[in-house]
């Protein structure tokens, strides 16, 4: 177990290092921030001073090494725009994004699992066919379009839900959360649904496929041959097996949910990391872009590791101990 963890951590460090080079070089290639940051009527002397102050006069590899040296100490540079540490800037906005992503993920499981279960158990019913047709829509409609439609219907036409911001928040452990107030929840509902739409479809399809496959297994028939109630057969024997792929995939999807929240946050003016990164890209605030990408990479790696560990808890056949 600990050997396994150690190996995974070394692998992770390698991935982070490789990503840092790609991200740094990639961001360097997308244009000159000097043009945007320094007012056009600044004179030559002011320009040069600014360039030196930002470290932009050094060759790329030196800039990278400086960045790397500082990065290992937790310093991912200062935002050109806010003149604040980029890391702090992102971490401040992370709770909002995490809240949105968690709400979307749990919502997707809460809605997707029962629907998928129903569709798997009664594949020929009208309800199942409607669910499956709906899931195709969930897969194929673009997130931004659905977001705009949600605002049109529920905010503009019906006036039921607010369309922007986080609403009232409650502070716990130094961060603000929307889901603890009614007003905050109404603000969270639409963006979370918007972000969840794709995942709901995914969970429905995974669950349905899992149920249909598992129902044909000998061990399900054997469970019935033991005289167990249909309830126990479905919710213990079948359910525990389909939980494995559903948890694995939704877990792995969590990273892309955070990445995709960029779109949703922009539409619903949700003050999370996604909105920050869009604003930063617009003004080429390099340290923030680099820091954001690095944090997302770290998150993906952590999520993968957590999912692997969770998988081993759910599936006894892949227990990680070597016993």
């Amino acid at each position: 177990m600990s050997v396994y963890l150690l190996r995974r951590l070394i692998q992770a460090a390698g991935v982070v290092l490789a990503m840092s080079i790609i991200v740094f070089v990639g961001v360097f290639a997308i244009g000159d921030p000097v043009e945007i940051l320094i007012s056009p009527d600044a004179d030559q002397f002011e320009r040069e001073r600014a360039i030196i102050a930002l470290g932009l006069d050094l060759p790329l590899w030196q800039q990278y090494l400086i960045f790397l040296g500082k990065a290992v100490q937790g310093d991912l540079g200062r935002s050109f725009v806010f003149n604040e540490p980029a890391l702090q800037l992102i971490l401040q906005r992370m709770p909002a994004t995490l809240e949105l992503a968690f709400a979307a993920t749990f919502g997707a499981i809460l809605i997707g699992l029962p629907l998928g279960l129903y569709a798997g158990l009664k594949p020929n019913s009208v309800g199942s066919k409607a669910i499956m047709a709906g899931s195709i829509l969930g897969f194929s409609l673009p997130t931004f379009w659905v977001g705009l439609m949600l605002i049109m219907v529920f905010a503009v036409q019906l006036g039921w839900l607010p369309s922007t911001g986080r609403g009232e928040t409650v502070e716990i452990l130094g961060t603000r959360w929307s889901f603890l107030t009614w007003n905050g929840l109404t603000h969270l509902a639409m963006p979370a649904l918007n972000l969840a739409l794709f995942k709901i479809s995914l969970v429905i399809r995974l669950t349905r496929a899992g149920v249909r496959e598992t129902m044909l297994m000998d061990y399900v028939k054997f469970a019935r041959a033991k005289g167990l109630s249909p309830f126990r057969v479905t919710f213990v024997h079948v359910f525990k097996n389909i939980l494995i792929p559903v948890v694995t995939v939704t877990g792995l999807e969590f990273g892309s949910t955070i990445a995709f929240s960029v779109v949703t946050e922009s539409i619903f003016a949700w003050p999370g990391m996604g909105k920050l990164i869009i604003d930063s890209i617009n003004v080429l605030d390099r340290p923030v872009i680099v820091a954001y990408l690095m944090i997302v990479v770290l998150m993906f790696i952590t999520i993968n590791l957590v999912v692997d560990l969770m998988y081993s808890v759910l599936d006894p056949r892949v227990r990680l101990d070597s016993k």
Partner: protein
């Protein structure tokens, strides 16, 4: 539950299957997997059900259990369990018989246990499904059942997952589960074919002992004639969804009436040799989708004559000896 059954029929044989028909309504047509199967098993008796692959043995077993799934359906005949027609029971009544009065052991031990549930979970739930006892009591019963089928240190093994057991051990667990409620009938679908010969022998001996002591009747499905010879009281031979011969195991193996049975045992050199597969008979098993008219063995039968285009009935030719054939091997029986 047992009390919903008619007690006046206690003297009836444990199982009587009459003209059972189970068909699968597939896109390609109707598969007549079981198409006229009849046999009887008395209390404490073992009936060996043999036949080549695809002859409908497993489907017969599932029909008795009431576990035929769509697109399959029992379309005819009756299954009398202690004199009561199982077709007349509701699904709920049938569920109370399953695993309780009638248990089944499946063909493939690697697939019968749920991979994500511990052995104790899978055993205790079986006890609790049919009896209101405490969890501790159910656990004790499960442990005893494991001990009975020869699993060492059953207390520890209860906490294992199926993948920590070998195939032989898993089949013992499945047998232990089948024995939990001391059923009146066990349908054992090739329970030992997947195991190696020594373990097969051990399990057979244990099962035989259990049947003798508890009065449990058994339907023992197998390919292995020598197992049938050593274990069964009676034998039923299936061909293309039908029983073609039924009788006392010694008499049938010594002097089979049906040409198919004759072919099967003709080449088994010694009946004591375990693991001997059934002899290959020249020709192909007919497709169940479009069986030829008349006797389905006709195309492969060395004794076939013109009248074989009419399907023969399963009827007694000698006392206690049934065969589905117009021209059975009677002369050899007389000679024997």
């Amino acid at each position: 539950m047992a009390d919903s059954l008619n007690p006046a029929t206690a003297a009836a044989p444990t199982l009587e299957v009459r003209n059972l028909q189970t068909h699968f309504f597939t896109r390609g047509g109707v598969v007549r997997a079981v198409d006229d199967v009849s046999f009887t098993i008395g209390r404490g008796k073992v009936l060996g059900l043999v036949g080549e692959s695809g002859s409908g043995k497993t489907v017969t077993g599932f029909s008795i259990m009431g576990l035929v799934d769509a697109p399959g359906r029992i379309v005819g005949g009756s299954i009398l369990f202690q004199g009561n027609d199982l077709a007349k029971l509701s699904e709920e009544e049938m569920r109370h018989l399953r695993g309780n009065r009638i248990a089944m052991i499946f063909q493939d031990p690697m697939m019968t246990l749920n991979p994500v549930l511990r052995i104790d979970t899978q055993m205790i739930e079986t006890v609790l499904a049919h009896e209101k006892v405490s969890e501790d009591e159910a656990r004790a019963r499960s442990r005893d059942a494991l001990g009975m089928v020869g699993i060492p240190s059953p207390d520890e093994r209860l906490k294992s997952y199926p993948h920590q057991f070998s195939g032989g051990m898993r089949q013992r667990v499945a047998i232990a589960i089948a024995l939990l409620h001391r059923p009146d009938l066990i349908v054992a679908d090739e329970p030992t074919t997947a195991l190696d010969v020594t373990i097969q022998g051990q399990i057979l001996a244990e099962v035989q002992k259990l049947c003798a002591t508890t009065g449990t009747a058994m339907l023992w499905i197998t390919h292995d004639l020598s197992v049938v010879a050593g274990l069964a009281d009676d034998i039923a031979v299936m061909y293309a969804g039908r029983v073609v011969e039924h009788g006392d195991v010694g008499e049938v193996l010594d002097a089979p009436l049906h040409p198919y049975t004759h072919g099967l045992i003709g080449s088994v050199p010694s009946r004591n040799k375990r693991g001997e597969p059934l002899r290959q008979i020249p020709g192909m098993t007919p497709s169940l989708l479009n069986l030829p008219e008349g006797c389905s063995f006709r195309a492969r039968c060395p004794r076939a004559q013109a009248d074989c285009v009419v399907m023969p009935e399963l009827k007694p030719w000698l006392p206690g000896r049934l065969a589905r054939c117009h021209h059975p091997h009677l002369e050899e029986v007389v000679a024997a």
